[in-house]
Amino acid sequence: MMPETLPEVGKMVDRAAILAYAAITDDFNPLHVDEAFAATTPFGRPIAHGMLSLNLVWQSLRRAFGEAMPISLEVRFVRPVLQDTQVTAGGRRREDGAYDVWVRDAAGLDVIAGIAWPSGAGERKPDQPA
């Protein structure tokens, strides 16, 4: 039985989290880690790596479906996550069996939006490797 909604998972995306994610991924883009550079951008302060917040979607999917494979996820990073933002991931089942997924900021605005295809959900299955 596939759940109607996915468990919510939240996290505070602070500077420590951004720096830790930069070290793990070796992605030291100044947009993320350089506060002086970030101050010159339209954002005004550092923005988090999109994939940092995306992990909350993966955690939500893991809580719902365990380690079932294969699984596919497609997202757009629709709004930057500024440093020191609380974000929450969740999802809702679609008519076709896939799941609309999102990460939202404290104001409830989508920062990430997309679709997940857990194993057994919907007609579309992830392409298999050659």
Binding site: A20, D27, P30, L54, I71
Partner: protein
């Protein structure tokens, strides 16, 4: 410097090797304590493997690139100790609304066979 002009659709940009070692898993768990599955890689670490490959293969990059969209297909979760090779290919490039968009394919294969695949769209800064 790798600029928008550098990319050619279909071009293999390079490969990156990484061992999924316990240090990487521990660093991940320090940031995401829920992601403790023993020696099994948490789902979200596909992003870490992909982004490390991106950072290693595509350099030097202009400052200010923006990650616009991402697709992942996970076929299996590697375990600690597995050596993973990620190959990055330029899939497409276009100028939309005056911004440079580059889409990269990322195929990760381990000693146990294909593990996951990604498709990453980046707003390239220069």
């Amino acid at each position: 410097m790798i600029t928008y002009e550098t990319f050619s659709p279909g071009q293999v940009m390079g490969s990156s090797e990484a061992v999924l070692d316990t240090a990487k898993l521990q660093a991940w768990r320090a940031l995401f304590p829920e992601d403790d599955f023993g020696g099994e890689m948490p789902h979200g670490m596909v992003a870490a493997i992909a982004m490390r490959a991106y950072a290693e293969v595509l350099q030097p990059r202009p400052p200010g690139n923006v990650h616009a969209a991402q697709h992942f297909d996970l076929f299996r979760l590697p375990r600690a100790g597995e050596r993973l090779t990620t190959t990055i290919t330029c899939l497409e490039k276009e100028i939309r609304k005056g911004r440079f968009r580059v889409t990269l394919g990322m195929d990760t294969v381990g000693s146990e066979g294909p593990a996951f695949r990604g498709r990453m769209t980046v707003l390239w800064a220069a």
